[in-house]
Symmetry: C2
Subunit: 271 residues, 2 copies
């Protein structure tokens, strides 16, 4: 038995897109035109559209039409940095296409002023800090941009004890210019000996979808990177949770000796 009709229509359009017959940004025929081309009802054509939308191949714009999605030059974040520094907190970001900048395509992210909150460490967020439930932590939440486009949402958690020990800037609603890790080293001699990142993918919540301007049908997932930082006694003192849309970000991990070239050419989905 053949596939359902909406799948056949979707596969036919997919083939047209991947063969280059329909290029990035091109407009598809309207739903009514497709209804005639494939001799199906408009609802069936729309089912095919939804199948293609889920796969990120097309997008619809009410009042305008349906379009092949444009290609995005992904941002590349290198997760392996100097353990004595923050890591991705102030690190550079590379752009794969490197069209706009002559060489290297390096960018610096900018951050909003942090929203600082004092919270109880419930089961909700900060198990990695290994403080008991009910202990007080400081959370510092920031919105991060590259070239004025939303790039990531980031929240760092610190035990309140650090502020009491002299790191008062943790409680201030200002960016810490030299970076929080360097500040903690200077101020109270806390050395970051290493960190562990865990990388997961999930659907965005409503706030994230709004900030990143993601379509509200939830088809674009987000990376969640949780960085637990340890001092030289192996004790965790910082948890940073960063969220990035998966459609315009990728990560790089360097182990051992790796030549300096910033990134490798793009991967391609195989048929």
């Amino acid at each position: 038995m053949p596939d359902p009709m909406y799948r056949q229509i979707a596969e036919d359009l997919r083939q047209k897109i991947e063969s280059g017959d329909l290029g990035h940004g091109d407009q598809l025929p309207t739903e009514l035109e497709l209804r005639e081309q494939y001799d199906a009802s408009r609802n069936t054509v729309r089912d095919a559209m939804k199948w293609l939308i889920t796969r990120g191949l097309i997008e619809t714009r009410p009042g305008q039409g349906t379009f092949v999605v444009g290609k995005i030059d992904p941002y590349v974040t290198i997760l392996t940095g100097d353990p004595a520094k923050g890591g991705d907190e102030e690190g550079p970001v590379y752009v794969k296409g490197l069209r706009e900048l002559g060489q290297g395509g390096q960018r610096m992210p900018t951050s909003s002023a942090p929203r600082v909150e004092i919270q109880k460490a419930g089961g909700a967020g900060a198990e990695e800090l290994q403080v008991g439930s009910g202990t007080t932590v400081v959370s510092r939440h920031q919105q991060r941009y590259i070239d004025d486009t939303p790039w990531s949402l980031q929240t760092s958690f610190y035990p309140i004890a650090l502020a009491a020990q002299g790191a008062g800037k943790l409680l201030e609603v200002d960016n810490i210019n030299q970076g929080a890790v360097e500040y903690l080293r200077q101020e109270i001699g806390l050395k970051q000996a290493g960190y562990r990142d865990t990388i997961t993918v999930r659907a965005p919540n409503t706030g994230e979808a709004a900030f990143f301007k993601l379509p509200d049908d939830g088809r674009v997932a987000v990376f969640e990177v949780r960085r637990t930082a340890f001092d030289d006694h192996g004790k965790p003192f910082r948890l940073t949770v960063s969220v990035y849309p998966t459609d315009r970000n990728q990560f790089a991990v360097d182990v051992g000796e790796v030549p300096p070239q910033p990134v490798t050419p793009e991967p391609k989905p195989s048929g």
Copy 2:
């Protein structure tokens, strides 16, 4: 203006799920029952279902009903290993829940015999090897399992010159027991000085969806990890492309000194 009706229905059901009113694996009312509860048409109820399905909250089973998705203990792959070894090719994998094994929750993946092909390095896959277009490469493709469940699809590319220089096993349809990286070191003195991983997320192709038994509506994306390995002259000699479903996998990256504990343990009574 209020949200569309299908969104209101979806949000109401989402709240019931996230509040625990409906637990993992529980069955939802049938579409006809929901149609009466919300005084909507069956198609509108189904639109609400689709919204929840896209977000991974529920799943439908034809002939049975609609269910809250069960919780999955994710596999954790550590990307930062010994640069002189393969990395994740033979490395252990950790399971977060660690319920089934007493301690640590460590698992070893098993691999199918490789499918070995000789290919021209076209634009398709292996730009990272920095061989000219038209150069011949060996590809070794494997299916990898953990506890007999499909875990990843992996393809490694090597310049054909390595086989000519004495590493003949690269052309054989057998697993290389000691690992390809160790084999290349022993046989032709090729030392892996380091590697770079790039991590992206994309929709699965049909073969991947079939192997991983992913729903064919494409809502579950896959990780694509591309590992380029370099010798001690900084020359790439291996590209390994691994694909993992995002719904049951996560990655860890260790930088600097990180305490040994494999993953963040769930708070458990010591007994």
